[in-house]
Every structure is written in structure tokens, then in C-alpha cells.
């Protein structure tokens, strides 16, 4: 062995200090394990980081809102005592409507701007969707059951899921089963008249997904997002002071306080195998680290195909991993502005919230059509925040930052991102200018991160939000693939803990915590 310093041996090595890796580290350290986290990038957080994109201007470079992080996990890790502060909580949603009318979906102003019929339908719809989401909540914090086994634990878990749905009562259960496999376009058309409302609700169903509103399964993705928010128990989207990176810094402090060691700038080259089990990792520097338990926060494709390598895996398993659909479609736009952006008809309070640019379901579907054929959307849809409206520390005094998720921007752009980048950026700016006249003139600097950029910067295969599409066939007990859906993998001692696992991506930390619990269980049994 190259280096056998006394610190070169840990109970657990975690590859990647994304938020899930950090939650996993903290949980394992609290469970009494010696833990080392190895992060390729110079800072922790993965796709939840804050970084400077223009001199003096900082932004949450990947995820920009926290809406899925469970309150109990925040408490459990005492993040507030590790430096987490909120710049905004319970942020309202404002729908940008052409012509400057205004539609608010935030807690207090909910329904403002709707016809009485739509307002009534909206409250019925939200109540029902919340009941459905609540039925799905118990799935989140559990290890998904395995299918086709005769183990009682698996059967009970499946029964419990069925029972949750049954408990909804006959009418709701029937409705859930009816809409469960539908597309969100049809669902919203059934319920509402307002194009803006339908656009806004439809956007939530496809944000970060490889779908348009007419794609099958989009009601499921919407319910799933709602269930995640419901499980979080939070009052709505929130913004940590200092951006999502500051949130991950607090996670890292919590992990360190529990005893975990975190090293950044330490990319892992490969997972070492001895006697058919994971035995540690080798860093790109050549350094060797021994650990009987290796947990990967990297996406499943990277973990299995690159870090471990197919020669330690069976062909059928590799075939399934190779088929994981993980091509990102969401780009990220960062603008440095010399004044606060003004959106027609949107109040100052609105700018402190979440702004949705999706004029109608047709708008989203048309935007998606481009992506199907390898083009970026000519008129993209967006989720926009102005982080500096809540947190002036992110920009020089009086100046501002705009952060937007821009869809759709396919990972494998047909024309290539070399020439496509500027044209895609222009399309996004044109779209914004329509709702915020004069915005262009206030731009000091602009940055567009394509999925390919995010793959390079955050190490996520395909630059995919969830490390792999969240869809019926890559969901729950088949996520990421059968044979690795319980955080364990075919190789003893190797575990997964990232967004590629159940319950998927978004900054929620549940995959990290579930994985840690599974590791604790396995190592207890074998101890």
C-alpha cells in the first residue's frame, strides 16, 4: 500500500460532499462511525453551492430554493447552531402574466387574480392534492421494499403503502388511482380556466424533469414534489442567508461536530475491491484510503461505471445502469444587475418570492418540443428568484442578482453548446425582457450554466437535477435500478446515498439519511 498513515483508515468513506453526502456523514458520525468525506470540488455542497459568478456577485449556482428539507432533519442536525440563518422563509409564488396582471399563489395572497370559479376550484384542488401527497409521505423516509422477495419486511412495506392509499377513503382513493398515471396537462385542463394558473401549476410538475406537461406520468411527478414538500413540513420555499452553499456549510459543520472529517479538492479515482467487497478508495492523487464501507454520493452511473467499473459487476446490472435516463434539461441563468429588477405588475414583495414564467400549458409544451429534438426552447419557461431582494450580502450595495432555472436546455444540444450557449442565453433574456422591460439594460454580467456545464462543475452525469429521471420506471423500489434500490449495491460494502436513490433529488437530505441508517443496520448485523 502506498500510504498507510494512521488516519488512512476509517469505518466509512463517503465519496462526495453534496448535501446528501454531508447528511449521511453527520448521521453516521452520530451513530459512532469514523467517517471521511472526500469531495472533488474545492467546496462542499455539490449542486447546492454558492459561488461568485461576477466580481462581487454571488449566487446559489445550482439549486436556489430550499423547499424539501425536512424540518426534523434540520432540528436533528442542529443546523441553526451551526450557522444556518434564513434570509427568507415561506416565500410566495407569483405568476408572471403577459400584460402585467398578477396572480399570486403564496400563502397569504393565494388565489388573488383568479376568477371566482377558478379560485373555488383551486382551493378544492389544493386540498385534494395535499391529501394525496400526505398519503405518499410515509414512503420518503423509508428504505423502499424489494419486489419479488418473500421477506416479511418487504411485504409489510408494500402493504403499508397500499394501506396509506386505502385510508384515503373510497372517493379519494378512486380519484388518486384515476389521476395517478395521467399527464398534468389533462388534469389541469379538467380543473381550471386560467391559462396562467395552469401554466404555473404545470411548471411545478416538470421542473427538473425530462417531461412536458403532456408527458405521461407528470401527475405522479407533481404529486411527488408536493409529497416532498409536505414531508418537509416547511411552510414553503425558503432561502438560507448566503445561499444554498451556506446551508451546506452548516451541514458540513454539523457533520464535523459529530466527528466526521471532510476533505475538499480530493477527487476519488476509483473504488477499491478486495475479496469481492469494497475495501476503500484511491484518490486521483494516488492516495489510498482503506474503509470497509464506501458510500457514494456521486450519481449511480458515475459510481458504477466509472468509479467501480463494470468488471466488478454483472452484465445485467451494468446494462440497467447504462440505461438509466440521466440527461439534464434544466439550465441555470445568473444575472448580475445594477438595480433591482422590475417585473410588470409585480410588487416589491413579489420580487422577494418565487416568480414563475410559464404563460400557459401550451407555452411549456412548446418549449419542451424543442428539447425533444435536441434544441433549446425558443421561448423558455423559468423559475426566477432575486436572492438579493432577501439577502443583500450576495451583491455589492444597491446591486442585485437574478437566479433562474431555464427550461428546456438539453444536455446533448444538437448544434453543440459552443455555439448554442449565447443563443440560448439570448432566448432566456428575450423572455425575461418581455415581463421585465429594461432588464437587459441593467445587466452587468450574465452566466448560463448548461447541463453539460453542471456535469463538469458538479460531477453529476448528464447534469441531471435528480441524478436520473424521476419517472415510473426509475422510481421507489426500482430507483436507480433493481439490485441497488435499498442504498446497498451488488458489491458488499458499497452503498449509494445521493439523489439517484429513493426518494430522488432536490435538496432534502432524505437519501443521505436513509442510506446512513441502512449502513448502520448492515454494519451492526455484521459486527
Amino acid at each position: 500500500m502506498a500510504t498507510a498513515s494512521p488516519q488512512a483508515r476509517y469505518d466509512c468513506v463517503i465519496i462526495g460532499a453534496g448535501h446528501n453526502g454531508l447528511v449521511c456523514a453527520a448521521t453516521l458520525a452520530r451513530g459512532g462511525r469514523s467517517v471521511l468525506v472526500l469531495e472533488a470540488a474545492a467546496q462542499v455542497g455539490g449542486a447546492a453551492v454558492t459561488r461568485e459568478f461576477a466580481p462581487g456577485f454571488r449566487v446559489s449556482a445550482g439549486a436556489h430554493l430550499l423547499h424539501l428539507m425536512p424540518a426534523d432533519l434540520l432540528r436533528e442536525l442542529k443546523l441553526e447552531s451551526h450557522g444556518l440563518e434564513w434570509a427568507a422563509q415561506g416565500m410566495a409564488t407569483t405568476v408572471l402574466v403577459p400584460g402585467g396582471a398578477r396572480l399570486s399563489l403564496g400563502a397569504e395572497e393565494a388565489g388573488r387574480g383568479l376568477s371566482p370559479e377558478d379560485a373555488e376550484a383551486y382551493s378544492v384542488y389544493t386540498a385534494r392534492m395535499r391529501r394525496f401527497a400526505a398519503a405518499l409521505v410515509p414512503m420518503f423516509s423509508r428504505v423502499p421494499p424489494r419486489l419479488g422477495t418473500s421477506a416479511w419486511a418487504d411485504r409489510i412495506a408494500l402493504l403499508r403503502l397500499g394501506w396509506q392509499v386505502r385510508k384515503l377513503g373510497r372517493r379519494d382513493m378512486r380519484e388518486l388511482l384515476r389521476i395517478g398515471g395521467m399527464n398534468v396537462y389533462d388534469l389541469l385542463e379538467e380543473n381550471f380556466d386560467s391559462a396562467a394558473l395552469k401554466g404555473a401549476l404545470g411548471l411545478d410538475a416538470v421542473l427538473g424533469a425530462n417531461f412536458g406537461p403532456r408527458s405521461p406520468g407528470t401527475v405522479l411527478t407533481l404529486l411527488y414534489r408536493l409529497a416532498g414538500e409536505f414531508a418537509a413540513g416547511a411552510s414553503g420555499p425558503s432561502q438560507p442567508r448566503g445561499g444554498l452553499g451556506a446551508f451546506c456549510d452548516a451541514l458540513a459543520k454539523a457533520a464535523a461536530a459529530a466527528g466526521a472529517t471532510i476533505r475538499t479538492g480530493a477527487p476519488v479515482a476509483s473504488i477499491r475491491v478486495e475479496a469481492d467487497r469494497a475495501a476503500g478508495v484511491v484518490l486521483e492523487s494516488g492516495e489510498n484510503i482503506d474503509a470497509p464501507c464506501v458510500i457514494s454520493n456521486a450519481d449511480p452511473k458515475t459510481t458504477f461505471l466509472r468509479l467501480l467499473g463494470p468488471r466488478y459487476l454483472d452484465t445485467g446490472f451494468v446494462r440497467r445502469v447504462n440505461h438509466i435516463r440521466a440527461r439534464g434539461l434544466a439550465a441555470k441563468l445568473h444575472l448580475a444587475l445594477n438595480r433591482v429588477p422590475v417585473f410588470s405588475g409585480v410588487s416589491e414583495a413579489g420580487v422577494r418570492g418565487r416568480l414563475l414564467l410559464a404563460a400557459s400549458l401550451q407555452h411549456i409544451e412548446h418549449a419542451y418540443n424543442h428539447a425533444k429534438y435536441g434544441e433549446f426552447s425558443a421561448a423558455p419557461v423559468m423559475e426566477i428568484t432575486v436572492p438579493t431582494a432577501n439577502d443583500p450580502t450576495l451583491a455589492p450595495v444597491g446591486q442585485h442578482v437574478l437566479s433562474a432555472i431555464v427550461q428546456y436546455a438539453p444536455y446533448a444540444l444538437k448544434e453543440g453548446w459552443q455555439s448554442g450557449r449565447q443563443r440560448c442565453l439570448d432566448a432566456a433574456l428575450d423572455g425575461l425582457e418581455r415581463y421585465a422591460p429594461g432588464l437587459r439594460a441593467s445587466i452587468v454580467a450574465a452566466e448560463l450554466l448548461t447541463p453539460a456545464d453542471m456535469e463538469a462543475q458538479f460531477g453529476m452525469a448528464g447534469g441531471h437535477w435528480h441524478h436520473g429521471d424521476l419517472a415510473f420506471d426509475q422510481f421507489l423500489m426500482v430507483r436507480p435500478v433493481p439490485g441497488a434500490a435499498q442504498y446497498r449495491t451488488p458489491l458488499d460494502g458499497l452503498f449509494l446515498c445521493g439523489a439517484g436513490c429513493h426518494p430522488g433529488g432536490g435538496v432534502m437530505g432524505i437519501a443521505g439519511r436513509n442510506a446512513a441508517q441502512e449502513v448502520l443496520k448492515v454494519s451492526q448485523n455484521s459486527a
Partner: protein, 400 residues
């Protein structure tokens, strides 16, 4: 991959380069499809052809055997992850019989691997496997091409086969050891010869360019005239292979890629091929599943049966007792062995009844002029192969 130029919509079955010669010798017009080719089932009578295998020399057209070329820097690690045997032990110019499994350790197919030149291998198998072979190549620097149509193949088998090849002019053929590959000139043609076969007898397989096929066939027929040479079809070969204890896909096992019902897949341990599984060579597909199976012990096993009487136990169900109360397996292949003078079969038998020497009962149905009779026959689990003559391995083989 080579594109076939044959207009398949007009003629679904291809003709092998030996087809015209086979057609000319066929007396009973008995052809069957095999892997996309039309091939001979019987030329004259099955018995006549079978006895030529055991007493003289036979020609059998092997061209439809599916062949893949495997080359590239990772060819060896690739093959070692694919099959259960340690291919690193395969020396240049040698052939190894191998099986490959899916993740569950169930057999996808069996076949032979030829180590042709440093870094280049050939896989010969009964069925097309390209998708499995390509998926197995993910992450390996290896090239895989199907070369079935580029290589004509002829099995030359029987006690006088070495003498026939010598008479054909293949100098030094008698030095070729079992599972060895040699390269010979025959006039302007180049022949690759491996001492392999499916008969369990002395025999060789000749691999050549399709253009050489007819010349080689004619040369062999001339060289073998005084040594009883005869073209044979699949029926006669089937009798010989059962005597030799070889398995036939879709008869003795169904590929795990094709089974639909649960419990129909077979592992190499169940098929009595445990000797092909090397747990010490590093990882291969199915290893973890097979290890578990090893620890638990196989639930059933393919064995040889010696059955009382002379009625082949085709498709017979097997029981623990002559009352037929407890079913414990079934026969997959059965013949009256003309050489052993025994009523033999290959059968899948449940644990623990597959132990050597144990007695089982075969429920044999006999059709006697349209009247079905049932006979419960005592059978004993015996060693395979049933027939393995000295001459199969002798180097040099006897002169004729």
C-alpha cells in the same frame, strides 16, 4: 457486423457454402433450419450415419454455428468477466469449452472459446448472443464482430478421421492434441483445424473461407473413400452427443435469456458443469449468485441415467418409487445407445436424488400401434459421459 446480402424476405433460410454438395448426397430430402441456415437432418438413414461416426469418418456441416471475433486490449478481461472459466489459463492456439450466465447465475449459453492469436479470440455458440456480448462489453476496450458468414466450418469426426486428414495432405495433423488449434495448407487454401467436436470421439473441426468449402469437401470425400467417409445429418450427431454426455441448448436447458416461467433457468452447477466455474479468478457475471448457490447446494442436477429395458425414456417424468407418488424430475434427452448397448438418458433430478448410484423410476410411454402403454422402469444415476473411448484423447491417433 456483416450485412447479409441474401434477400431474406424471399428466402428466409440461408444456404451454407457446402449446401450444393449436401443437396447432391441427400437421399431422403430431410432438411431442417438451424440458426438461419438450412441444414441436413438425415442424408440416408440415421443408423448408417451414426455407425460411420463410431467406425469410420463423418463430415458434418458446422457453418451455422454462430461465431464471434473478440479482439482488442481488453479481450481477455472481457472474456473472463463473461464466462465462468478462467480464460487467462487458455494458452495460444487452444480451445476451451465455456458457459456464460446472467446475473442470477443461470446459463445463457455454452460454447467454445478459441485463442487464435495474441489478443484475438473466437467464440462459437449455438445461438446468436450479440446483445448480451455487446452489453457485456460496456466499459471494456474490445471489439466484437459476428463472423459466422465469413467462416465455413466442417466437422470431421470418427476413428479414421486423422488418417483421412493425413491423406488429404495435412502434414503433422497427428500431432494435434485435444483442444489444440493447428494451421495447415491444402493446395492454395489455408485451413484452421481444431481437435474439437461434439461426438465424444476422435475428431477435428475445419475452419476455412467460404470459397474453399467445396474444394475441401471434395478433397475429403476423395481422401476418405477407402476409410468409409460419409456425410451426416443432425440426427446421427444427436445420438453421438448424448453418448458423449454433451448438452444441447433448448433440449437439455433453455437459455436464461429465453425462459419465461420462473424456475426454468438452469445454473452451471445444476447442469453438472461446476467444474467450469472458477471462483478464484476474480469477478464474472453470476459469480455472487453462484457462490450463494454453492453454499446452499444446488436444488436439482442434470445427471446421466441408465434405464432398465430398451425403450428410450423420451420426456419421461421421474419418480422416487414405482408407484409414481413423488415426482422428482424429468428426462431431457434419451436414446438406446447402439455402442454402449444401454438405455441411457440425460435428466434433471431434484436433490437429493441426483446422487451417483441412487435409484429413480422413469415413467415411459410406449406407442404400440396406436395403443399407448405405460412402463415404470427402474433407472440408476450413473457417471457421464456414457461413452469415452481411448482414441478420443490418443495423440498420435491410431493409423488406418
Amino acid at each position: 457486423m456483416t450485412e447479409s446480402v441474401a434477400p431474406h424476405f424471399k428466402q428466409p433460410l440461408l444456404k451454407t457454402p457446402f449446401h450444393e454438395r449436401a443437396r447432391a448426397l441427400s437421399q431422403v430430402d430431410s432438411f431442417i433450419p438451424w440458426a438461419g441456415y438450412t441444414t441436413v437432418d438425415v442424408f440416408t438413414t440415421m443408423e448408417q450415419e451414426y455407425f460411420a461416426i463410431r467406425n469410420a469418418t463423418t463430415l458434418y456441416d458446422l457453418t451455422p454455428m454462430v461465431k464471434y471475433r473478440v479482439a482488442g486490449p481488453d479481450a481477455l478481461p472481457y472474456l473472463n468477466r463473461l464466462v465462468t472459466r478462467d480464460v487467462a489459463k487458455l494458452k495460444p492456439d487452444r480451445v476451451a469449452y465455456c458457459v456464460w450466465c446472467n446475473d442470477a447465475g443461470h446459463l445463457i449459453d455454452d460454447g467454445t472459446i478459441f485463442r487464435l492469436r495474441a489478443g484475438e479470440y473466437r467464440i462459437c455458440t449455438a445461438e446468436r448472443q450479440i446483445d448480451w456480448l455487446l452489453d457485456s462489453a460496456i466499459g471494456f476496450d474490445v471489439e466484437i464482430d459476428e463472423v459466422t458468414e465469413q467462416i465455413a466450418a466442417l466437422a470431421v469426426q470418427g476413428p479414421t478421421s486423422c488418417a483421412v486428414l493425413k491423406a488429404l495432405g495435412l502434414q503433422g495433423i497427428e500431432k494435434l492434441k485435444p483442444f489444440e488449434i493447428g494451421y495447415f495448407a491444402f493446395g492454395p487454401q489455408r485451413l484452421t483445424v481444431s481437435r474439437t467436436g461434439f461426438t465424444g470421439d476422435l475428431g477435428y473441426e475445419l475452419w476455412m473461407e467460404p470459397q474453399a468449402a467445396e474444394t475441401v469437401w471434395d478433397g475429403l470425400m476423395t481422401a476418405g473413400r477407402s476409410r468409409g467417409i460419409r456425410a451426416i445429418g443432425s440426427q446421427a450427431l444427436n445420438v453421438a452427443r448424448i453418448e458423449a454426455g454433451f448438452l444441447l441448448p433448448n433440449v437439455d436447458f433453455v437459455s436464461a435469456e429465453h425462459t419465461i416461467r420462473t424456475g426454468r433457468d438452469r445454473s452451471p452447477l445444476e447442469l453438472g458443469l461446476g467444474w467450469l466455474v472458477d471462483f478464484n479468478k476474480g469477478h464474472f457475471t453470476g459469480r455472487r449468485a453462484l457462490r450463494n448457490e454453492m453454499i446452499q447446494g444446488p436444488r436439482r442436477q442434470l445427471v446421466g441415467l441408465d434405464i432398465a429395458g430398451n425403450k428410450p425414456a423420451h420426456n419421461a417424468l421421474l419418480y422416487t418409487d414405482d408407484g409414481g407418488k413423488r415426482e422428482i424430475g424429468s428426462v431431457t434427452s434419451a436414446i438406446w445407445s447402439p455402442t454402449c448397448k444401454r438405455n441411457i438418458a440425460l435428466a434433471i433430478v431434484d436433490a437429493p436424488y441426483f446422487q451417483l448410484g441412487s435409484t429413480v423410476w422413469a415413467d415411459i410411454y410406449l406407442n404400440r400401434e396406436l395403443m399407448w402403454e405405460r412402463r415404470m422402469s427402474r433407472a440408476q444415476v450413473v457417471e457421464r459421459p456414457f461413452f469415452t473411448p481411448e482414441r478420443r484423447r490418443a495423440t498420435p491417433p491410431a493409423e488406418f
